[in-house]
Amino acid sequence: MSEDFNNNKIIHAQSSETIGGASGSPDMDYVRPAETGDQDLYHGHSFITKWIFCQDAKVIGVQYFLLATFTGIIGLILSWLMRLQLGFPGLAGFMTAEHYYQFVTMHGMIMVVYFLTALFLGGFGNYLIPLMCGARDMVFPYLNMISFWMFFIAVGVLLASFFVPGGPTGSGWTLYPPQSILEGTPGSGWGILLMCLSLILFVAGFTMGGLNYLITVLQARTRGMTLMRMPLTVWGIFTATVLAMLAFPALLVGSLMMSLDKVLGTSFFMPTILKAGEVLEYGGGSPILFQHLFWFFGHPEVYIVALPAFGIISDLISVHARKNIFGYRMMVWAIVGIGALSFFVWAHHMYVSGMNPWFGFFFATTTLIIAVPTAMKVYNWILTLWRGNIRLNTVMLWCLGFIVTFVNGGITGIFLGNVTVDVPLSDTYFVIAHFHMVMGIAPLMVIMGAVYHWFPLVAGKFLDEKLGKWHFWLTFLGAYSIYFPMHYLGFIGVPRRYFEMYDSPYVTSAVGMNEFISIAAFIVGAAQFILIFNIIKTLKTGKPAGHNPWKACSLEWLTPSVPPEHGNWGDRLPVVHRWAYDYSVPGAKEDFITQTTPPSEVANTEVEKT
């Protein structure tokens, strides 16, 4: 009896669904039968149904990835133009203040929504969820296809605003009314309306994709894939999608109400306004209401980007450190907990907005509480490295770069979240430095790591390691030297969104730093094209990767063909017997046991968690 009790602690290679049976017998491999039959898919036959209006989540994922990258490159070019003005004012003769503010706005909105969100959820979500859950495809492939094309139209509308009278909106990515819809802000006519329309289309399209991600995770997992066996990537994307479903509606109504204020003359966000000596026909609205709606979306949005990044980085670290992710359950609950808390912190963006200052107490407290689960995740990443067997390849370098930039940006977040400290720093370059470090560079490190990691799956070939290392070091060192010193501009008090500082006495010392930052920004931007070159080169001449080249445990590497075909799994769906992190299990022949390996095949190992 007491022996049985001890066996609860270390289950000798038994799956949790096992119903008795002696060690080594096939009974121990029992997994509950599927509750529904296999899914039948629509197979495209023509070029158009296979590659353009395609219903295969993998193709849709790649489409999302490519379109998001394309808009990301536009965002990158806009950032170059901004840095040109800030580092070397007057050098670009065409640059007026109007242009500058339009570039700032479009850069921000593109990078946050159309690049990062679309890339993490639309790109990685579509490609990885069905594969990692052992599904043949998303549950609603047709809706999934429409989701991408809605995104396509949203991007089209957004970019069209560059060509309308007045150009794109220059109201800052936060689009705060009243200025966003009044003269005096560039693009306050067509520009802002197209921005609102584009966001509405994006949200509609994203909802279609999001429902797919959620229901696929909840309903279409293969036999044996319990929730607590899912890779953290899926947990991250899943939770982020829940956040998106709840947060995007706030952005949608905000955009809609602002469009009405602009077009129909309603006054949701518009108080009595005196402009150029005339009282406008607005009255009674509240500009702060928009800020609440915006940040009720905007703060969860940060975690919509961060949670998939957390999930992906956990998997990359675990695979390349040849060690299970430390504290898996803690990691899952941290993702869910951060997700839930992220809905109670939005007004920390508004400490000095003029809302009731007593809110500061509440939101500072909730914001700092979120630091605890976030810190736990960081500890678990570095504890995964501890006593691992770390492959120092390009993927791992991106992971290490992520840890450094994320911890740095997370800690400056504690500065800004702590209401008193925020007062002198808000609206200065400290804020710019903070959020670029934590939700620009850190997620970018994850994206790049993920690209180098999963490219052998998507294309069947290894990306070039040497080019990859150049890409990493230029990006990491360059980006760090952009944003680390930038915090100190904030200490001086340099305000953000200034087209020019003139000769303000206390910022003349910052001229040299601005030049340095700009040059670093040009280099980091240019370094990204190394990846594009690397991809083209690899597709032409790269060496084939074969099956499961990284020796990973999770399902996406276990498809019968590489790259996986439509339907993913050939004749039979995989059956899952364990979690996704059985690396370096004592007693096992190799340093990994795939999720589909039945316990009877590795009977002598000491598996602690199944």
Binding site: Q179, R387, I390, N418, T420, P495, Y498, S584
Partner: protein, 278 residues
Amino acid sequence: MHPGIIFFLVILGSLLFHIFTPWYWTDIASNWGSMDDTITLTFWVGGGVFIAVCLFMIYCVFKFSYKEDRKAEYKPEDKKLEKILTWATTLGVVALLAPGLVIWNQYVNVPKNAIEIDVMAWQWGWQYRLPGKDGKLGTTKVININDENPFGIILEDPNGKDDILIQSDTIHLKNNKPVKILLRSVDVLHNWYVPQFRAKMDAVPGVITYYWFEPNKVGEYEVLCAEYCGVGHYAMRGRVFVKNEEDYAKWLDEQETFSDLVAKQKKLEFNKTELAKK
């Protein structure tokens, strides 16, 4: 080069940059030194965590880099360690949050003896109004604003009659005397911000917002708009002179009150009609 060395140099560089940086606080000129202290505290705690985490990571990279014949440790969880780390982090967070909240409490509660200043913002400029002898500002309305009544003071309000109007982007403050900045805007969001005073708050059309500080260094300072307000945002500057008591009183004496302005305008009007009659 081993990547661990480069990462180590990055962390070392960050630390040295922080110690030797020529870019740091603009010298403080108000009572909010406690804000700087909270930041310094956060630097110690947060910076310590940053360095510790990164050094631990670098150590792991050196010590546990890949060897064919070694196997990683197999240890999915360590409840005790996770518990210790959770509580240690919570403690650190509380230590940072508590002083922050105490100072915020001071920030939102204005001392009774503070002088109220009405700071009015528009695209793109500032003007100021000080209470007269009664120590009270008159109430205002946006629709009342016109050439004769540049601040939109409600004429029936007796408190407004002796208000001191400063139709300029330059304001003078008395040294060592707390001021309550009452912010309003007639069009879009603005923010009256002087880096040396540390404090700031948005001016929001439709409502009056406030913050307070006590200037404690005589001198001249630049006012910046710190909330994006359209294409002229970067040029929306103002000026503050902090003066000692005598100089301040002298300056205050030279300023015009609302009744002065009304009287002047009446006289002007009267002259005009006289002229027309003739």
